[in-house]
Subunit: 180 residues, 6 copies
């Protein structure tokens, strides 16, 4: 299991790992259970309708990783997958990338994602020579917005109607961090 980083959180060992085929089933189970809350803010959730869909996405992500277009990690808690975090829209000309993430409802509230984002940045920003990392979050998604705020990201902008989910447009906040 290839991992970007590992950290302890209470009695949990959290890892950010390369997506593997064997994660398709447990990840789909989580998504299916949390479908309603995920779909409120994340457009892809309603299109993920089978273990095969998740497997296809994992294969896609592995090849995008090989091509350095998407750096997507499965978050495991004591070896169980509980969510994902990624860098997408990676632009090696402007040295910038955007963060995406989601976490199983049963794993929320423990600081997993805040630490996952922190550790992902520590471990991948120098290697990719990123100058700017942006988190985009639905203005109403308090859980999601709080993560970059806790890590000292700066609020940059409100993007109008940036997300279409659950049948309507939502504004999004962008939070940024710059690196020398």
């Amino acid at each position: 299991m290839l991992s970007l980083c590992t950290f302890k959180l209470n009695d949990s060992e959290i890892k950010l790992v390369m997506p593997e085929a064997r994660f398709a089933e447990p990840l789909y189970t989580v998504i299916d259970q949390d479908r309603e809350s995920l779909a409120r803010y994340l457009p892809w959730a309603d299109a993920m309708n089978s273990v095969q869909d998740e497997l296809n996405f994992i294969e896609f992500a592995r090849h995008q990783f090989a091509d350095r277009k998407l750096f997507l990690f499965v978050i495991t808690d004591n070896r169980q997958p509980v969510g994902m975090i990624d860098l997408h829209n990676v632009n090696f000309d402007s040295h910038s990338a955007e963060v995406g993430y989601w976490l199983a409802s049963s794993s929320q509230g423990k600081g997993i994602m805040t630490n996952a984002l922190k550790q992902m940045i520590i471990n991948i920003q120098p290697e990719l020579q990123l100058h700017k990392i942006t988190v985009v979050a639905d203005v109403d998604n308090i859980a999601s917005r709080s993560i970059p705020q806790r890590l000292g990201f700066t609020h940059e902008a409100v993007l109008k109607d940036h997300i279409f989910s659950n049948g309507q447009y939502h504004d999004a906040d962008t939070f940024i961090r710059l690196f020398d």
Copy 2:
């Protein structure tokens, strides 16, 4: 020659057309002549170093068009290519896209790009069912910023260090238009 639209401007017939292999040479000539001014704001200009580079880009754009990932048009003035305009980062989930464009210095100041953007939107927004079209321009690129302003786009945000060109980071303005 496949065209998206045609319009008259004084004694010029302006067309937005599919990129063709035969445009590689005249487009490269324009880029090479205007290299200094283009490279001030556009990161790709310094990497376009031969007719073959331009041809490769045209082939890439044709296939991206077939895949509906990039809608790039060559702007012709009385059949001579003078610039490009495109929709990229097209997101069919959020019904949004971003505009890019550049124009030969010798063709600037005549309203070509303002009309090209206007016509591109009229002709392609309904078909792609776009809700939001964004123009991103270097804060110092007055010529570029003026185009969405003339067309009534709304200023949405200043994106910090969004562009890296000519060896330094530049802030960018985003201008948006929403459609029902």
Copy 3:
């Protein structure tokens, strides 16, 4: 909607346009309604059995267009797709190509295809530097044969058993036009 050309015919605006995914459904409906008459002379008609088949063909045609191997256009009448016209077997060594076309029965008899072929040639022959354009038609397909004849094509040959459709071989006439 990228178009090669537009022309008026009585109260109709006819366009030759790039095939788009959204045409799959209306085109399939037309083919399904006219299946019997189309299959009499066109071998592909019996193999087009679902909207998905038509969509696959459209995707194929878009990529063939990007590769300059097939130039296929949907014919629209007041924005409704009513048929197709194309250049295939395009040979850039011998500067030659072959024309293919079909039209919904409800749109026949109005001069649409004769004008479509005329306009396609005007708009694409110079760009592709074609010296010879050939129309191949079943000797019994009066509607199809009449089109190149009306446009002054020269009868070149009868090709024996050139078409296999509806379970039997059919001779074909070739009509040609040469360009300097």
Copy 4:
């Protein structure tokens, strides 16, 4: 060495074999020696300018063979490659194909190609269920035209300006054979 067929001709053993990488060098030598006479009627001859060009063509032909789009054989005389014969424009809908061939000048006049065509047809026509096989030859290329005539092919048509070689257009004769 995969072969379609083998036959004796005087003291020569002639084979029609799958193109192999090791043929690139001897085939290129032959083409280079006969370039002037080949280029008179065959458009590709002037574009074959190195052993690597020939190797690329062999690789292309092997993959086209795997895809059943081109059935191209190297003709060997006592294991030395002396020419090629192929079926191209294979159409499994109309059960038809077109023959192409060329032979080193030093191997001409011995009946090699006439027998090669005869044997290729015997060995491949039933398997591909071809109804019609067409030979297309420059009207002035006496050597080439004589081959289908010797094998009892029927003259079908004269195709106007069908070939562009040596800077001018040439008419072509088509000779056909039909199979039940």
Copy 5:
């Protein structure tokens, strides 16, 4: 039908031929009839569950042949396919390859496979410049092991748990032949 070689055996004409789409059905019938005995030693047999599976394998083998990665031949007896023989793990750096084969039960005991292996080697070893050819056979598969032994191969090694079939691991014997 491209063949590597042909030989007589009593009143049978045996050929080693390129895999063709039309073999999928008869080969699948044989595999399905002999499934139990094949699956005892050959891991792939239980995964071959339809004519389409066999067709997919044939297409795969044709492309691998074009790429010179797998040289797989169908064995025909009086034009009926009765088995397969191949060279896989072909290593052009170490000039080595491994042999695989299987034969319909109704065709066994006549010397077909022993002669097929002998002829395959005669016809392909010089061309591929192979120094070492290895046959790997389940230690309990008497029929399979006897073939290289009859042809004078040397026993090289016993590979522990080399094959997993029928739910358990099997040791394998390797038999080798070296060429100058």
Copy 6:
């Protein structure tokens, strides 16, 4: 930097990491310095002739990793690449794989490779559900042979003329470890 595992060895932190483009230059430098000793036993060494060659290999390995065909890791010592270790010939049917490795001469003699192999197995064998792992080493390559021996691998066989390097054939020992 994605890593499979990390371990301490004296004052060195050793990691097995995903190959990255930025490793191409330091790896090539090492290979070029050790070319003579590497080429004695490793056939690829003489074909690695530029940083670009190494970069191409890294890109190849990344895509093979995405496809689960090759699991190749760069070994870093305090973040400097000093060698590679991999699993190739991974067979998910027989649950087996083969190990390959090489180490810069300046890093040898410290136990790096013995520990790297041990850690690679601990971290990847359960996930890939491997039953058998084989190390193949030139019989004369004492350094290479000693590694599986130190880790308690069983000697399985001597493979005759298994490796062709430095212009001659070499026998190879295979050492195996089985897992439940």
